[in-house]
């Protein structure tokens, strides 16, 4: 059905974006950790 595939694409799209953003945030935490530990 066209509607379900559209919904599925929306969901996958959202998940991709949120996952990427989560990755960025994780990377940020890593950097702060490196700075703190490396002082």
């Amino acid at each position: 059905m066209k509607r379900t595939t559209s919904l599925r694409r929306d969901l996958l799209g959202m998940l991709t974006e949120v996952a990427f953003t989560g990755g960025l945030i994780g990377f940020g935490f890593l950097i702060s950790w490196l700075f703190f530990v490396g002082r």
Binding site: E17, I25, F29, F36
Partner: protein, 507 residues
């Protein structure tokens, strides 16, 4: 311009501005209903009055300038710039009626700040306003983020040709689909879905943190709208500190990072092209500049021993920096804390992040990641050209939705806009310094205004000099419209004045 055509120009502009104004009036019904729900009768009445007034002005404009013509590009630019002015002033009426503003100029400052998704405010006693007024403030940023114009397009205009030109005037120049109605619907669809998801997620977090359920979802909606639009307003004066919740901050951060992405990118990803998120020049640029400026911030904070542990360093440092870089403006530290504890390096790194800003065709401001990417690659290509044998053909490329050639024209237009941004940042800073503010503070708030960020280090407050208020307002406006629309408006006014004088002379 020939005299007959010139009168018709005014009609077109007046008519479409009228339609946009009607849209704004209808929007005021949302806070009115909010106030009714919370039994804030006086506030509901204020919104009813404001809505009636705005609708009246809108209908009068649309009626008096009735026309069947569709706008050309120039008209579109003037409508885009002009309707902002009308919307800003009328949107200030509920603020004035609430009694929380010291002047009408302050009210216009706040509404302009809302529509441009900046987030600085001169409102007095924020902790004691009605739910209706809070709804209005946050709604302004959400709608402003989508573009007042797109709002009008979706509900009020049938034709497609003229509407596309209006949106180009808005500064969102991505060519997503040939049909502009489709674009508007798509932008709204993505934003509304996230609005639903975001309100629920943030509302649940608020509830888990001890806020009563019916309030939690309103708070969730406010915070979401502020984040997604990269506006930066918050329902209370403590901004995100009010909630004392890292979950709330992280969720909000996810939404404001997403809100800072190009809508064309959202469209690409939601249409199945998921790899785009790793290849897109703006994402690459943002990741690099964000992590670099954040490293500088960490350096500064560690050097000054500001935070006692890693989690504190990350939670405060990262949130503030990313809020600045995405030009959001939410904060989980006090403004004066930022100035006094972070120190010059911390402030400068954040200022640079704000100046660079978010992605093009997003709700964010600043130079835009696309231009940073283009300029850096342009420089790299020039260096390659210098190093290559004379007869070799060297072309640069950048990936934005698809592979693009890095022509001289592209690099030049990116550079021109960056220079214009730097110009307004500097002018705002110089005016601030002329009034005696320290250099770092003057630059910070000026860049914050020009990049539509909204973080403040204390310069922006009701007592600030009037001229500085006006300068920041011009910065917010020009920054959001990326200059072209504003220049066209002024150009149009100048031309009209000249033709009026000419026709008077020849009459």
């Amino acid at each position: 311009m020939v005299r007959r055509v010139w009168r018709e120009d005014f009609r077109i502009i007046g008519h479409y501005t009228g339609l946009v104004t009607i849209g704004v009036g209808l929007l005021m019904l949302v806070p009115m209903v909010t106030s009714l729900v919370f039994r804030e009768w006086a506030s509901a009445l204020d919104f009813a009055i404001s809505a009636a007034l705005t609708l009246l002005v809108g209908y009068v404009l649309a009626f008096v300038s009735r026309t069947k013509s569709t706008p050309g590009l120039t008209h579109a630019m003037v409508i885009a710039a002009g309707s902002w002015l009308v919307a800003v002033m009328l949107s200030g009426v509920p603020y004035m009626l609430s009694g929380h503003m010291k002047s009408f100029l302050d009210a216009c400052f706040d509404t302009l700040s809302g529509y441009t998704t900046t987030g600085m405010f001169l409102l007095q006693d924020l902790d004691h306003i009605s739910q209706g007024l809070n709804m209005w403030r946050h709604l302004l940023t959400y709608v402003g983020g989508q573009g007042i114009v797109v709002l009008a397009l979706t509900f009020l205009i049938g034709s497609t040709g003229g509407a596309f030109k209006i949106m180009v005037g808005e500064g969102k120049e991505e060519k997503l689909e040939p049909n502009v109605r489709h674009i508007a619907v798509l932008i709204w669809r993505i934003s509304l879905i996230y609005l639903g998801v975001g309100t629920v997620v943030l509302g649940l977090i608020a509830m888990a943190n001890g806020i009563k359920p019916y309030l939690a979802f309103f708070q969730g909606a406010y915070v979401f709208m502020s984040a997604w639009s990269t506006g930066g307003f918050a329902p209370y004066s403590q901004n995100m500190l009010y909630y004392h919740s890292s979950a709330m901050e992280i969720a909000s951060m996810v939404f404001f990072i997403l809100g800072s992405f190009n809508f064309a990118l959202h469209y690409a990803i939601w249409s199945g092209n998921r790899k785009e998120i790793l290849r897109n020049v703006e994402i690459v640029s943002f990741t690099i500049t964000m992590l670099t400026t954040f490293s500088l911030v960490c350096l500064a904070l560690m050097q000054r021993g500001v935070y006692p542990n890693v989690v504190a360093l990350f939670r405060r440092g990262f949130f503030q920096l990313v809020s600045g870089h995405t030009t959001t403006g939410q904060s989980n530290i006090y403004a004066r804390t930022f100035v006094r504890e972070w120190g010059p390096l911390g402030m400068v790194a954040t200022t640079i992040a704000m100046a660079i800003g978010a992605s093009a065709a997003s709700t964010g401001g600043g130079f835009k990641g696309l231009r940073m990417g283009i300029i850096v690659k342009g420089i790299a290509t020039d260096i390659r050209k210098l190093l290559s044998p004379e007869r070799a053909v060297v072309t640069g490329h950048y990936h934005h939705l698809h592979d693009n050639v890095l022509s001289d024209a592209v690099v030049k237009s990116a550079a021109v806009i960056v220079v214009l941004y730097v110009l307004i940042y500097v002018v705002g800073a110089v005016v601030g310094m002329a009034y005696g503010y320290p250099m770092a503070d003057a630059f910070f708030d000026s860049v914050s205004a020009g990049s539509n960020t909204g973080l403040s280090c204390g310069v922006t407050q009701a007592g600030m000099p009037t001229l500085l208020k006006i300068v920041y307002m011009l910065e917010m406006w020009m920054g959001r419209l990326e200059f072209l629309s504003v220049f066209t408006l002024f150009g149009f006014i100048a031309t009209s004045v000249r033709s009026m004088r000419l026709s008077k002379a020849t009459a």
